[in-house]
């Protein structure tokens, strides 16, 4: 990105001044190197979002931002319904409520290494991953609707999880006001055999070592102990969410035109929040959020079952479960007044600071855990929400490393088997149904996640708590 087009407003915050039909500025977070390396399309997409009706304060791009569709990946924008604000299917994305959960295991890394390969094989054989995999749970129409209303609470009631998990999931495991009746039959059909499946692309299950602690108090509050293993799962709402995205993107293209909204990019298809289309999308999207929460809870249950075969006495508690493709109704201070806003985060994580009422009691003094997936070679991070993030970007932070290279280019540059061999030399075992998929997800295809989280910390979006290193990676 050409820095001369931006105004540097802080060390790690860069502003696109509002021009033309932009209603607010756009602000991109990152250090100079990250901003220079960002695709110019991030500039265009962040500026386009700033043109949408009812946008409040600014359009934001997180330090891991990269070229998406409509919104940049790493984009955040809040809309005020009372000011004609919109909800955008493109602003949430196809993989609605895609997110990350991290489970604590209490098992030392040395004990994992004794069974590393057989543990990897067990996960690979028993966790359905990749295109063509099917879950063991097939839902009839009644149960599917119950799942879409109940989310992780449904999963726990059905025996696929533990009651104590619910307090460690955003919305306590269930998005309110989900409306399965606004989910198409096509979307429901796509989901019938997909519960408890990991998906593909950048979705994964990893066994990770707690490798470095940045904040001792926060790590203790989160239960992160150096040299112990945790398990992180990254996946979303599967076929149901993808189809809801497809269905409403098409409908919102018409709805936007009918509402007289000029779209700078068709992918920003949207509808006024107060409109029929807007309300139906919100109901369907919340159903997809519940689908994702239920899916991750089921995957957590399968994970526990496999883990207990190897470590029968392990107590596996959930650290947290966060989503990074959502639109949530939140109250934020704007010009000194509290406002109810519809906050879109597409490839961005909610990051409430200490004291926020939405954070579970046991974590409230520390701030919300923000789980950042890196690449399979370089590691991941656990951050904590900070109070400054509210003012910076409606309490939002990055969600991953962000791609530095297209899949196409990565597959040309690397050979999946060689990537796996190289990682094995570093002590990391990879299992995947596709070696080309491994090449497309090679560590070198991603930005430096360490630089991304450091920039997030310097920008006041979140603070670093711990760094996690992969030991086993199951790629979809």
């Amino acid at each position: 990105m050409d820095l001369s087009r931006l105004t540097r407003i802080r060390e790690t915050a860069w502003k696109i001044e509002p021009v033309g039909t932009m209603r607010v500025p756009a602000i991109i977070f990152g250090d100079e190197a990250l901003i220079r390396a960002m695709d110019d399309k991030v500039y265009t997409q962040a500026a386009n979002v700033a043109m949408l009706p009812g946008i409040v304060r600014a359009s934001y791009a997180m330090p891991d931002a990269h070229w998406g569709y409509g919104f940049p990946i790493g984009g955040v924008a809040a809309f005020d319904a009372e000011a004609g604000g919109v909800v955008s299917a493109g602003g949430v994305g196809f993989d609605i409520s895609c997110g990350v959960r991290t489970m604590l295991t209490g098992i030392r890394v040395a004990d994992i290494m004794l069974v590393q390969r057989s543990l990897a094989d067990s996960f690979f054989q028993q966790i359905p991953a990749g295109l063509g995999s099917e879950g063991a749970i097939e839902l009839d129409a009644l149960n599917l609707d119950a799942m879409l209303k109940g989310g992780a609470r449904w999963a726990v009631a059905a025996g696929y999880g533990e009651e104590r998990d619910l307090g460690r999931i955003e919305e306590r495991g269930c998005a309110a006001d989900a409306r399965p009746e606004y989910v198409s039959e096509r979307a429901k059909k796509r989901q019938r055999r997909e519960m408890g499946t990991l998906g593909s692309g950048n979705h994964y299950l990893e066994v990770q070592a707690v490798a470095e602690i940045f904040d001792v108090r926060a790590s203790e509050a989160y239960g992160l102990v150096p040299d112990e293993a945790v398990i992180t799962i990254h996946c979303g709402s599967r076929g149901l969410g993808h189809q809801i995205g497809t269905d409403y993107l098409k409908e919102m293209l018409v709805a936007a035109e009918e509402a007289g909204i000029t779209l700078p990019d068709r992918e920003l298809a949207c509808a006024p929040i107060a409109s029929d289309t807007g309300q139906r999308y919100l109901g369907a999207m919340r159903a997809a959020v519940n689908c994702a929460l239920a899916n991750r809870e089921i995957l957590g249950h399968l994970t526990r079952r496999i883990w207990h075969h190897f470590f029968p006495d392990a107590d596996m508690s959930l650290l947290f479960d966060v989503s990074h493709n959502t639109c949530k109704v939140e109250t934020h201070k704007v010009d000194g007044k509290e406002k109810r806003l519809f906050v879109h985060r597409k490839g961005a994580t909610r990051a409430f600071g200490p004291g926020h009422a939405s954070i579970p009691d046991s974590l409230r003094a520390t701030g919300q855990p923000v789980l950042i997936g890196g690449s399979m070679g370089t590691g991941s991070y656990v951050l904590a929400g900070v109070t400054t993030s509210e003012e910076m970007a409606f309490s939002s932070a990055c969600h991953g490393a962000g791609r530095a290279m297209s899949r196409h280019a990565a597959a040309k540059q690397w050979n999946g088997r060689e990537v796996g061999d190289e990682l094995y030399k570093k002590g990391i075992v990879i299992r995947s149904p596709s070696m080309r998929g491994v090449a497309e997800e090679a560590p070198g295809a991603y930005k430096d996640v360490g630089a991304v989280v450091l920039a997030a910390e310097q920008a006041g979006l979140a603070k670093r708590v711990a760094r996690l290193e992969p030991l086993i990676c199951i790629k979809g």
């Binding site: 695709d39 593909s200 497809t246 990019d265 899949r407 196409h408």
Partner: protein, 139 residues
């Protein structure tokens, strides 16, 4: 004679697909092959046929609808397709997909398409008469 063929074009997060041919229908068929190639490098058997139909307000939206129809049929049938046939008349597409059940060991699917996007969406005829259809697919 105007060539037909497909290619992928780069997108940072996802994958761009492009099909070209002497007719609009052939460009759509080639784009179908580009979608398949985004998933697998293996040969796909074309034993089973699925008939489909879709409509849209214009050619570009019809292209997205076509790709989303393939993605939907793949998802609900757990199939992958290796041959496509398209007929288009007045923004109505009638077509057939030939393929087989996904065989993970043989196909080694690299990704799972989630949906076709409006990003980089273009359906156009060049001066020499060739049709090309392209967009980014979220994977």
């Amino acid at each position: 004679m105007i060539d037909r063929g497909w290619q992928h074009f780069p997108h940072e997060a996802d994958i761009g697909i492009c099909g070209c041919g002497p007719t609009l229908a052939s460009a759509f068929e080639e784009a179908g092959l580009a979608l398949t190639a985004a998933i697998t490098s293996a040969k796909v058997r074309t034993d089973s046929k699925v008939e489909i139909a879709c409509t849209a307000l214009n050619r570009e939206l019809l292209f997205v609808e076509w790709l989303n129809t393939i993605i939907y049929e793949m998802a609900i049938r757990n199939m992958i397709f290796g041959r496509y046939e398209v007929h288009i008349e007045n923004e109505r597409l009638v077509g057939a997909l030939w393929g087989e059940a996904v065989d993970v060991a043989r196909h080694e699917p690299a990704c799972e398409p989630k949906g076709a996007t409006y990003t980089e969406l273009r359906v156009e005829q060049t001066k020499d008469g060739q049709w090309c259809a392209r967009c980014v697919v979220d994977v």
